[in-house]
Chain length 383, copies 2
């Protein structure tokens, strides 16, 4: 028997739209289950406190509706149950219910009363365009690879990319602190290489090291990289934690654009009946967690996202979200020159092209290949 308590709640609620598999009857029951599972996790029959029932339980906001071959339920939660912190917000959205197949997060509706607790992307689309003095047109990103090269050779690549007009030259996300090109050796060399190219071109290319460190070292490495002159940071929230990315984005002593990499989170979007929709995961969640750029595998490459899923991500990157800034989608993954015209058509100008391996193909320097990429993207056709 739970005695009475008076709850400190504002009445403001946020909403998660879930897709639920099964019969209508199952889906109605599952929606009720979600309301309990994501909040009190307690047999509802043992909760005798009206305030908890009314304010802490999730609430099904309207009748479930049939969508495609499943059901859609709108469930709202008091903003206070999140404690206004990202880990607990993730927990309310999809914590325990992640363990129940047949429930997928379709999208989030975050009111201003919750959004104002999240800084979101520090720069966003507009901020990045200012940094790169690129008021319109697409932006370009490439990656230093393959792992195994010494730091000096990766830095030479960085120089070539910057010379060729690539805006952000990022570490391959697998570059950590391997003996081949240790982090503290690699970062200054790549920073200097990009600065050298900028001096020659008058450009404003930026190097983004991969911050893939351990525990508290993560924060130290991010601050150190900033002090060394890194112009942006690459973070994979699946590897280091969503809130760790958020913390680095929010940290005024870092203050660098964040490129969000999807490593390790793919299984959260690959099932049609569990996890998150592509827009919710690679768009909305990335923005809540402070990413300025959302990297994801483009359609038509060596991964399996469809053009519709990719368009959904791009749309979620720029949809209004109670004041949380819009960001750049950065499709990549096995893209070659041939893919660029269809990318131009799918994404228009509000995109950051992420093209890696293809810029190393022979017969031309990396800088020449980079210029060719830009020319194709800006023309929208191959030649």
């Amino acid at each position: 028997m739970i005695p009475h308590t008076t709850l400190d709640v504002s009445g403001d609620r946020f909403t998660v739209i879930y897709r639920i598999a099964g019969s209508r009857e199952d889906a109605v029951a599952r929606a009720q289950h979600i309301c309990i599972e994501q909040t009190v996790e307690f047999p509802a029959r043992y909760v005798h406190d009206d305030d908890i029932r009314k304010h802490v339980f999730g609430r099904v906001e309207s009748q479930i509706v049939a969508v495609e071959d499943s059901w859609e339920a709108r469930i709202s939660y008091a903003v206070e149950v999140t404690g206004f912190q990202l880990p607990q917000l993730l927990n309310v959205i999809f914590g325990n219910i992640s363990l129940v197949p047949g429930v997928r997060v379709r999208s989030l509706e975050i009111p201003e009363s919750l959004a104002r607790h999240f800084r979101g992307p520090r720069f966003g689309r507009t901020g990045l365009r200012k940094l790169f003095n690129a008021p319109k047109g697409p932006l370009y990103c490439s990656a230093l690879k393959p792992m195994g090269l010494p730091a000096g050779e990766l830095a030479e690549q960085a120089y070539q990319f910057a010379l060729g007009g690539i805006h952000i030259i990022k570490d391959d996300h697998g570059l950590g602190n391997q003996p081949f090109a240790p982090f503290r050796e690699r970062v200054p060399l790549c920073v200097q290489a990009v600065e050298r190219a900028n001096r020659e071109t008058g450009g404003s290319a930026r190097y983004a090291p991969s911050i893939n460190s351990c525990g508290e070292q993560f924060f130290e490495d991010a601050r150190w990289a900033k002090a060394e002159g890194a112009g942006a940071l690459l973070v994979a929230p699946g590897l280091v934690g969503w809130d760790i990315m958020r913390a680095i984005a929010d940290d005024d002593s870092v203050g660098r654009p964040i490129l969000c990499h999807p490593a390790f989170v793919g299984a959260m979007s690959s099932s049609v009946t569990s996890g998150f929709s592509h827009g919710a995961l690679y768009g909305q969640l990335v923005r809540l967690a402070g990413g300025d750029v959302s990297i994801y595998p483009n359609f038509g490459g060596r991964f399996s996202f469809t053009i519709e899923q990719c368009r959904e991500i791009a749309a979620a990157c720029r949809a209004p979200m109670s004041g949380i800034k819009t960001i750049f989608p950065a499709p990549g993954g096995g893209m070659d020159f041939d893919n660029v015209p269809e990318m131009a058509e799918a994404y228009g100008d509000e995109v950051m092209y992420l093209i890696g391996g293809a810029l190393h193909q022979g017969g031309a320097t990396v800088a020449e290949n980079s210029r060719r990429l830009r020319a194709i993207a800006e023309r929208g056709r191959l030649e």
Copy 2:
């Protein structure tokens, strides 16, 4: 054209066993794709450096074999590509390939040369038995809930559980820093309540607060909770990051047993063709990341794990792993007294029963219900 470099590699390799869907031909090609995707992420035809091809690429170690309705491939990686750090180890195991449906991690084979870089669980099964002076028989865990109660009432529950012989009384994992029972108010009250019960019973029950904080605050809160007398810590790596859990487990200034909660990671195991097997995720990965106890939803409750999946987790918790300690499986999730006999049969004595809501049922105090749970589990039948 990638020039020659001399690589600093030992020749030691670790192995990931992947399940791959599709035809035999597809699976053979996919296995080769994994070798590249998880390491250099670079068109193999552009890598002309024999050392990188030989040492950095993943390697298919034997012919793929048909298993159930898919294929099993053994792929090894040089231990150096992990940089001997957990985020990059996760990345090599399943980073980019998480974005390709049809690839599932079946199990990991970690040699001593890699394992020695990971402390793993600080206490493990043997260490916990010593802490609780419980050389044999099952251990017991329960949770303070529902969210919405004030801290004083949660502390009263903690007292009752400890009085009833529960070894670890944990916060419900959704308890963060909500206004209802703020973290800094809740932790000392619950610590004191459990200490009071221990004085009365002569027992050694421990309170495990949920450390579900933001960024660097996470570390501060864990150390503060330890200083306040928390006897263990509850961490959900899906919410805060796998390596954050590892860092807290490794931190000598904390030095408390870690209960690992599966919130948010369920979608990583729910598809049969993506993510991780139950044993790899809730057993092997939890141990690598320092969990002393692995919480997961038991068969027969409100989740959907099968008895086979649960047995696989329990087996992975106690299988040899190059010196990384064995841990307690802690099945829970909607368990009631009726479920206990079948749990006793499935798990034997090497288990920590996690039973929450059922201990609040009327007609008896929480302490009395706790004693009843222990009696049923130790008898192996209801009455």
